[in-house]
């Protein structure tokens, strides 16, 4: 079941990524070239998804948009995971009062309306890619930290760790050589599971005008543009980017879920779809 889901979600994702990578390349269109005389053309054989407000082909532009959004999301997810792994490892490894303090702070961050704080932070530093990445990463590492911590806790019970300690390995060596590498699968799952959230976040921030500049294609900026194009009759400027956004986030989310089930033991109940 999980494997089948992984294959389906993975295939959808592969198609999306191929679309994002190949289409702009094959089309050979320069994003900077506009033709306002061709603005807001309805979908046709020439323009599968129609054209945007500057007369650019939306089929190509959405592909570029996915690419931007995925790259931004990947950066966010990676950074969040790195923070989470560091915090989680530290807590799980030291145990005792450092663990208590670290996990209390994690709870504190978790209890905040963090999406809102993210919006506030990015609004203060708007227009900067670093701000987007940081605002998402700094508010989303807590789950990763929790997962990694419990992983470390269970790993510490394993015989080979005892063996390493008996063989005279220092605490640091044990942590760096054995514990952290062993959390790699969990960390990978965490990255994948964070991706859709990051895509979602980037599009929201760009939509509010705090993210990427309006002339650069991302799923968020394309949807922002749709807001005014809708009034000019351009339904396709909303429908296609929105559909792609849903497909991308769902495919990544399902792939992540399925991946987790393949890697970790089955959980009590399963979602049927």
């Amino acid at each position: 079941m999980a494997r089948r889901n992984l294959v389906i979600a993975g295939s959808v994702l592969a198609v999306v990524v191929l679309y994002a990578v190949l289409v702009p390349w094959l089309a050979g269109v320069d994003d900077r070239v506009t033709d306002f005389a061709q603005a807001r053309q309805a979908p046709s054989a020439d323009h599968l998804f129609g054209t945007d407000s500057a007369g650019r082909d939306l089929f190509v532009r959405i592909a570029s948009g996915i690419r931007t959004s995925l790259v931004v999301a990947l950066l966010c997810a990676l950074l969040a995971t790195v923070i989470g792994v560091v915090v989680g490892t530290a807590a799980g490894f030291w145990g005792g009062w450092p663990d208590r303090i670290i996990m209390r702070s994690t709870d504190a961050v978790n209890a905040l309306p963090h999406l809102l704080l993210g919006i506030v932070i990015v609004a203060m530093f708007r227009g900067s890619l670093l701000a987007i990445v940081l605002s998402i990463a700094l508010t989303h590492w807590t789950q990763v930290a929790r997962i990694i911590r419990s992983e470390i806790l269970s790993l510490r019970q394993r015989p080979y760790i005892d063996a390493a300690v008996l063989a005279g390995a220092s605490r640091r060596q044990v942590a760096v050589r054995h514990l952290v590498p062993a959390t790699a699968p969990q960390a990978m799952i965490a990255v994948v599971l964070l991706l859709p959230h990051a895509v979602w976040h980037e599009s929201t921030l760009s939509f509010l005008g705090f993210g990427l500049p309006p002339h650069e294609p991302s799923l968020g900026t394309l949807l922002e543009e749709a807001r005014s194009s809708l009034l000019l009759g351009g339904w396709w400027t909303l429908v296609f980017p929105a559909a792609v956004l849903v497909i991308v986030t769902l495919a990544v989310a399902f792939a992540g879920q399925a991946l987790r089930k393949v890697i970790t033991p089955p959980q009590p109940s399963e979602l049927r779809l």
């Binding site: 320069d30 900077r32 070239v33 500049p213 002339h215 000019l232």
Partner: protein, 533 residues
């Protein structure tokens, strides 16, 4: 949980906590009131801080007011009893004050109020944004019960344009202080045709001044709504909730042909163009400057970005200026010649299609204000045109505080025409090399650091001469000289577009509009003179 409790309380008492207070709105149903949605913030109604400098303030009167009509508007006396007169070198102007006018607080208008208003504008303690544009005025003195004299630092022919700004009671500016902090911002006291009766961040209600010296307005009530988003204003207009609003041209065009709606386009001197800073190694190059002017397809921008509502620009002087306009001063769209000029100047195409000269890539950063879709589209269209001749224009969407520090080094998509009622106020700030010196004027005066001796000389003649023919000739010379040595790429003059609901009023007709184009302009600029059909 908290929110859930909240709703229970609210739904239980059926009338949710009254949050919007004030008088009931006339709305679309009212017969003698109108409701307009504005994209500009409400409040900030203090003339000392620069409000209504072009005479559009409904709560105030200036010494003079605009006459309107097609073409260049004239001036007629308002709080002045007759048109002010100048001495022969235009350094002393005498104004006779209109008698029997009262302010909205009941006090009587007099010469001392004129003196106090202008002194407050010029007082550094007010920190008025208008101060630098009034710097020709040395002092204003009361010379009789009903006369004041303006003493100028240098001859200044178009002084009437500085008399459009509203006059406030002397008591309201008795204590020096920041104009932006004055109570006049939210509780204006003026002699104008309307008085403000209610103000909240998203709604202002104005009522007709029944004692107005020029007769009480027939439109009794004006409600202004602050709706910053263009799309939202369009939606509310479409659903018939409001009587009128200003919209970007493409959105306005969607109302064309709708029953009971009228789309109005008013000619303006509001230009869009970009600066080419002299200090920039690419944008400062005369060949690049000329080539970019020839490469820009201005007509296509008007047809497609502005939905036809605009005019081609080559200099800051539009055709509507009549004799002061030089018809020959235009740039014809000619990308081939642009490429030739670049090649001749040593800008040779590199492997990626972008030209290079002495190791310098032909790339320019163009900053534009990100909230304005027309600027975004013009910037994109221009970047595309420039790319076609081998010049790379990299767009940056920024807010003004981020643009400010870089304005003398990188290109900016600018708008102009704040005070369009004389060629001097229209062109001097943009082209005079006086502003190349740091700390002279605002940073938006001559941001290209443009310097041309012929242009400078002609600008001074136009500014000082009282002879209309001599002035016109001087401004034609400015345009001729600029065309041979451009320092900007002036792209278009916008026609400001408005949508209004037909309600059986006879309006007074259009007026040439300045840069600002909220609902204080458009068909509503002369609201006080509207009459029932």
């Amino acid at each position: 949980m908290i929110a859930l409790t909240g709703v229970l309380v609210l739904t239980a008492c059926t009338t949710p906590g009254g949050s919007v207070d004030g008088a009931s709105a006339a709305g679309a149903d009212g017969t003698d009131g109108i409701v307009l949605a504005d994209g500009y913030e409400l409040g900030g109604y203090n003339p000392v801080a620069g409000f209504g400098a072009a005479g559009e303030a409904k709560m105030y009167d200036g010494l003079v007011r605009l006459t309107g009509g097609e073409g260049m508007p004239g001036f007629e006396p308002a709080l002045a009893a007759e048109l002010p007169t100048a001495n022969e070198d235009a350094t002393v102007w005498t104004v006779k004050i209109r008698p029997d006018v009262t302010f909205s607080d009941g006090s009587t208008f007099g010469a001392e109020d004129v003196v106090a208003t202008y002194e407050a504008i010029l007082d550094p303690a007010s920190a008025s944004e208008a101060r630098s544009s009034f710097d020709m005025i040395e002092e204003v003195v009361q010379t009789g019960d009903d006369t004041v004299e303006f003493h100028l630092a240098y001859p200044y022919a178009p002084l009437l344009t500085k008399m459009l700004i509203g006059v406030v009671p002397s008591e309201s500016v008795a204590t020096p202080g920041l104009a932006a902090e004055s109570t006049l911002n939210t509780a204006p006291i003026g002699t104008g045709p309307y008085t403000l009766v209610d103000l909240s961040p998203d709604r202002a209600v104005l009522e007709a001044n029944e004692d107005y010296w020029d007769g009480a307005p027939e439109v009794k009530k004006l409600t202004l709504l602050y709706v910053p988003d263009d799309n939202t204003r369009a939606q509310r207009m479409a659903s018939g909730e409001i009587d009128g609003t200003n919209l970007p041209p493409l959105l306005a065009n969607t109302f064309e042909g709708k029953d009971g709606m009228t789309v109005t386009a008013h000619t303006s001197a509001d230009w869009r163009g970009l600066s080419l800073p002299t200090d920039n190694p690419v944008a400062g190059d005369p060949a690049v400057r000329m080539a970019l002017n020839l490469a820009a397809n201005r007509q296509s921008m008007i047809d497609n970005v502005l939905g036809g509502h605009g005019r081609v620009a080559a200099t800051p002087i539009p055709e509507v200026y009549g004799d002061a306009y030089e018809p020959g001063a235009i740039f014809t769209y000619d990308p081939a010649r642009a490429e030739q000029i670049l090649t001749d100047a040593g800008w040779i195409e590199g492997p990626d299609g972008i030209r290079v000269k002495d190791g310098q890539r032909a790339q320019i950063a163009l900053m534009y204000n990100s909230v304005d879709t027309v600027r975004r589209d013009l910037a994109q269209a221009f970047a595309s045109d420039a790319l076609a001749v081998g010049v790379e224009v990299n767009l940056e969407a920024l807010s003004w505080d981020r643009i400010d520090p870089r304005i003398n080094t990188d290109s900016t998509l600018l708008g102009g025409g704040d005070e369009p009622f004389d060629p001097d106020t229209q062109a001097y700030g943009a082209l005079s090399s006086v502003f190349v010196q740091p700390d002279v004027g605002s940073i938006y005066d001559n941001p290209s650091d443009y310097q041309d001796a012929t242009v400078d000389a002609a600008l001074e003649v136009g500014r000082r001469s009282l002879d209309q023919a001599e002035r016109d000739a001087a401004y034609r010379e400015v345009q001729d000289a600029y065309i041979d040595d451009p320092g900007y790429v002036y792209l278009v003059f916008l026609d400001h577009t408005y949508v209004s609901k037909d309600a059986g009023w006879t309006m007074s007709g259009p007026v040439l509009e300045p840069h600002a184009h909220g609902v204080t302009w458009g068909p509503w600029w002369s609201l006080q003179s509207w009459t029932r059909d």
